[in-house]
């Protein structure tokens, strides 16, 4: 597997664009919201994700983080994907993303379901990087649970 299959252009682009980044500067959430901070102790990468829910849908996802291109791009892609989804759809997508990433290359990504996040399929071949890609998704899952339980 080549480096370019890991670092697909879409990942490199999102690692710079960082959609949804700027939690501290974002307006107060409308409706129910939850927030989760996740840390990768091996490298010190960290992220805080806030998920807001209104009318059964994810109305907004905002985050602040510091980390490698994989973790930053993953949070950016997640933002684009999550906003507008129903809470159930987001749960399903997060579960699927986790299955793909933990499969060591055995579970192919479904672009229909995962959209741009399918580009992270190659990460599953790099055990040390799975945590990087999962960081914001784990935070979003936790934040979503809090928002829904309110």
């Amino acid at each position: 597997m080549s480096l370019d299959q890991l670092y697909q252009q879409i990942i490199l682009d999102h690692s710079k664009a960082r959609h949804g980044s700027g939690l501290a500067a974002a307006a107060a959430p409308v409706g129910a919201s939850g927030q989760s901070h996740q840390l990768n102790p091996t490298c010190g990468d960290e992220i805080t994700v806030r998920v807001s829910v209104a009318g059964g849908k994810v109305s907004e996802l905002r985050w602040d983080g510091d980390g490698c291109s994989i973790s930053m791009a993953s949070a950016s892609v997640l933002t684009d994907l999550a906003e507008g989804m129903t809470t159930e759809e987001l749960r399903t997508v997060i579960g699927n993303f986790r299955d793909v990433l933990r499969s060591r290359g055995k579970v192919p990504a479904d672009p229909e379901l995962l959209g741009d996040a399918a580009a992270f399929e190659g990460v599953s071949r790099y055990a040390a990087r799975v945590k990087c890609a999962m960081l914001s998704w784990v935070a979003a899952e936790d934040a979503l649970g809090q928002a829904v339980s309110q």
Binding site: Y7, K16, C43, G44, D45, C68, S69, Y126
Partner: protein, 435 residues
């Protein structure tokens, strides 16, 4: 070849590339290709590789002499005990210690925990009169430095929490050097222990042991040296350094994992309460009490890591035969080549001493706009193994305004070609990530 500044040149003749190429033949793991490229292993600061003589020593032990030591009258038990104690003699001599001053541990981390738990035991009720010199009470002070590996920080934090002692630290300056003026102000009559690293695993700095030992001595404090990054790489004599305790790990010096050592002055070890208790470390046992053997058995409860000790002795013999002064001189050259090469690449910030100043054969650095994980991944695609992250030194990284860095660390089996392949790859990193 980059010239080493005159004041850093050792009297010893450094290894050269031809000799290193011969040395490499002794290391099977270095013969492989990674991602289609020749493996360039620059992560010996984390763990080193094993020469055939070490692998064979461990196998020979299991094939010919395996048995429990210090018990049993049979032939194999005698052979195993001899091998085990010969190994202790070899490793002790390598660092200038007497055999009874060298205690086997799993690694340096365990050595430091053994010490801090023994100090804690000395501080508890019923510890006895001879342990009183190690007892800590509220108001006592423990001093470490801001550049410590977590292994030489957290055990002291925990000891402070449990005894009410205060943990203080000697700060580092922007260049990563210890502030000795601050050290002189911090180390005082209340200081009971000064624990510091001999060589920084991040900065590559070699700390001024004599000056720090002098400060500790005038304060009546004990000195604990983390020698993880020095024992494998330079000639070292614990008596000449004048420290009370020192720790190091076998796996960083050509031996397998699972073996390391704690050095302690004999007189101290024999009054320090044991950490682990049980079989093999006792004299007379009743249902109520037990007497303890003197060092080293006092600190070696239970069946020991015998084959690993034998393998560590084989590693020490390999290093001694090559010559520690020559290894040190060679790695100093590689270290200068690393720092000079890195400093010449735009967007690279090297931590620790600048080019031309003394450092061991490693360099940690930040790449502007590219996270260390990505740097490491990029280098791996070229077959180059480096360490990325905080290198178990979060406070030091925070002090330098960083979260994670990349570190290249050399050993006696690295050539200048290894360093150059690494430098060429680093020069391409920022373009790849559009930084």
């Amino acid at each position: 070849m980059v010239a080493t500044p005159a004041h850093l040149r050792s009297a010893a003749v450094a290894l050269g590339n031809d000799e290193v190429l011969r040395i490499r033949n002794d290391f099977p793991i270095l013969q492989q290709r990674v991602n289609g490229k020749e493996l360039v292993y620059l992560d010996s600061g984390a763990t080193s590789q094993n020469p055939l003589s070490v692998l064979e020593a461990e196998q020979e032990f299991y094939e010919q002499r395996n048995s429990a030591v210090h018990r049993g009258a049979h032939h194999l038990a005698v052979e195993a005990t001899e091998a085990f104690e010969d190994a202790r003699e070899t490793v002790a001599a390598f660092v200038g210690a007497e055999p009874d001053e060298l205690i086997w541990t799993s690694n340096a981390t365990e050595g430091l925990n053994l010490l801090t738990y023994s100090f804690l035991n000395a501080s508890l009720p019923g510890a006895g009169a001879e342990a009183a010199r190690f007892a800590l009470a509220p108001g006592d002070e423990l001093v470490v430095t801001e550049m410590e590996h977590h292994a030489n920080l957290i055990p002291w934090q925990e000891l402070a929490v449990r005894t009410g002692a205060v943990l203080k630290f000697i700060p580092v300056d922007d260049a990563g050097a210890l502030d000795l003026e601050a050290a002189a102000a911090i180390i005082g009559p209340r200081t009971r222990v000064l624990a510091f690293t001999h060589a920084s695993n991040v900065l590559g700095t070699i700390n001024p042991v004599a000056a720090l030992v002098g400060l500790a001595r005038s304060a009546g404090a004990l000195v604990v040296l983390d020698a993880c990054q020095s024992v494998p790489h330079l000639p070292l004599d614990v008596k000449a350094l004048g420290v009370d305790f020192a720790v190091f790990s076998g796996h960083k010096m050509l031996a397998p994992t699972g073996i390391g050592a704690l050095y302690g002055r004999s007189e101290l070890l024999n009054s320090l309460p044991p950490f682990l208790t049980g079989g093999s470390m006792i004299t007379t046992v009743t249902m109520e009490r037990a007497g303890f053997l003197p060092s080293p058995q006092r600190f070696e409860a239970g069946t020991q890591r015998i084959s690993q000790a034998v393998a560590l002795a084989a590693a020490v013999n390999y290093l001694s035969e090559t010559g520690m002064d020559r290894i040190h001189a060679w790695e100093a050259e590689l270290g200068q080549r690393l720092v000079q090469g890195l400093s010449a690449i735009p967007g690279i910030r090297v931590l620790g001493p600048a080019a031309g100043q003394e450092r061991i054969g490693l360099a940690a650095f930040d790449v502007a706009g590219v996270h260390a994980h990505d740097v490491g991944q990029f280098l791996d695609s070229r077959g180059i193994a480096v360490r990325v992250g905080h290198h178990c030194a979060q406070p030091l990284h925070r002090r330098l305004g960083l979260t994670a860095t990349t570190r290249a660390s050399t050993y006696l089996y690295n050539t200048t070609d290894d360093v150059d392949a690494f430098l060429n790859a680093v020069a391409d990193v920022r373009a790849y990530f559009h930084a």
